[in-house]
Symmetry: C2
Subunit: 306 residues, 2 copies
């Protein structure tokens, strides 16, 4: 049997890492014994908390992929967010909850759903295939849903995510609110990261129509703490803008307790933020009240106003 590489997006987050592990396990259970989980970058502190809690190793780092390798993509579908030479691979399956940003020359298995987290889809796939969800798998699934939905408070949260969290908490024997807050807080710890690393932690390349952009999101329990690094962050952002010829770089500093985001916007199209949210940037920054979801509250609004 040929090897199958299962991986999520660059700048991996908890959903991407856990979904790789969980999907590889599902494939193995279904007879694809050579399915193996990989990661495309460093583990963040939130994911580290989850893996430590479960005493699990992080998946192996994948730097490039062989021509004609079998791959399964989870938690992403855009080649921009994937392994560099994806165009030479044979994509077998895609399990994701993002907008569609890829094309193929062959039919394949695609399962995308507009839910809060990839793991919510995987939870359904386990059930559809009558595969037992072990305590460990349930804990991984639960962690990702809490992460992506910010404890079911993000506007991306659907009834299916809530239902999954309820059932998975029982199987995992976890008080999800207590565990979830600890996990999210662990993810806000920026100590030990350089400015350049912080700016890559959860950065996505996104085009708002013709406007070339990166939107990076950093979770925090205290916006003030992060804003103390504003000068250094802006310096790093300006460097990336120049290197990658970006029109706008948005850094969302998201308060996971109060559900707001402070945005720092730089680049020649930075004023698009003012138009999109009807606000005024002062010293390149403004508080966007109630905004916590890049996917639901940033990308469509910025695109519409571009």
């Amino acid at each position: 049997m040929e090897k199958t590489y299962v991986f999520g997006h660059k700048s991996p987050d908890t959903d991407t890492i856990t979904s790789s592990i969980v999907m590889a396990n599902l494939e193995q259970q279904l007879g694809n014994t050579e399915a193996k989980a990989y990661r495309l970058g460093n583990i963040n502190k939130e994911t580290e908390y989850v893996l430590n809690y479960l005493d699990l190793e992080a998946p192996e780092l994948l730097e490039k992929i062989d021509d004609n390798a079998n791959v399964i993509l989870v938690d992403h579908n855009s080649p921009k967010e994937s392994v560099d030479n994806l165009e030479n691979a044979k994509i077998q399956k895609i399990i994701d909850h993002h907008k569609i940003a890829f094309n193929t020359s062959y039919p394949l298995y695609v399962r995308t759903e507009p839910v809060g987290c990839t793991e919510t889809i995987l939870y359904k796939l386990y059930q559809e295939n009558n595969i037992e969800i072990t305590k460990e798998i349930a804990s991984l699934m639960l962690s990702a849903i809490i992460s992506d939905t910010l404890l079911l408070k993000s506007p991306t949260t659907t009834e299916e995510d809530k239902e999954a969290v309820e059932q998975l908490s029982k199987i995992a024997e976890i008080d999800y609110e207590e565990y979830g807050l600890d996990m999210l807080k662990a993810g806000t710890d920026l100590s030990g990261f350089t400015i350049d690393e912080i700016l890559q932690l959860d950065a996505k390349q996104i085009d708002f129509k013709d406007i070339k952009s990166i939107v990076n999101q950093v979770n925090t329990a205290s916006i003030d703490d992060v804003m103390q690094m504003k000068d250094q962050l802006e310096e790093g952002m300006n460097k990336i803008i120049e290197e990658q010829d970006l029109d706008i770089f948005m850094l969302l500093i998201t308060d996971i307790i109060n559900s707001n985001s402070q945005v720092i916007a730089l680049g020649k199209e930075a004023k698009l933020v003012e138009k999109a949210y009807n606000v005024k940037l002062e010293d390149n920054t403004v508080l966007l009240e109630g905004v916590v979801s890049r996917k639901k509250q940033v990308v469509p609004i910025m695109t519409e106003n571009a």
Copy 2:
């Protein structure tokens, strides 16, 4: 509740028409009571046979779609094969078995699988949702799988298609080989169609890399019968090539009994057929032995050699 338009591709075939009806029924069963099946063109004779057999009306013709209308696409995903102003609609779901040829700016439900027929996926969806498959629904599903896989003989046929046919035959109480051959033969009846209509019956706009093309497929029980119209067919094809500025127009005349296709190829890139299949066109035509699937045996081979 808002209306939801459920439809398949232009130049509708049996899979497109029956999947529209079956998917609209599934949506209704799941509570989307305003889901309704539509068609984007004339019913072919094979589909007419199926609808007559079941005493069913064809879905209503849809000429254009209102801005922001809710739509569900079945058996296609490319905007080129869809309703003209699809870009203004809100795509809710896509159920399909073709290559991915669309992008969105929002996440949505997509379910594509590399199986022989859309109805094979719908068969699974009914089961996953515990919705009863009635005798009528089973007959519609069965007809489409027989049609798309040419009685399970096309190389697009998968184990899942075979399993579905076996189970659906029981529910439908139909001897699928006997019924299937009658249905396929009904579809080969070209009487009453003008040459222009024949050239549109199952025509797909497909680009082989930069080569702009139409591939049309006509099923027959006798290639000779169709080839008697060769001169008129070529005249019609040349007219379409000029009107649409095509590089190549391929007409596949597929013998459903012996599983071969006679191809007529016109246009300035017609010789691509010679390169792709290592054959020689004589008088613009050649027999491609064993070729019956446009998706599996034409598009990838032509694209690779383009």
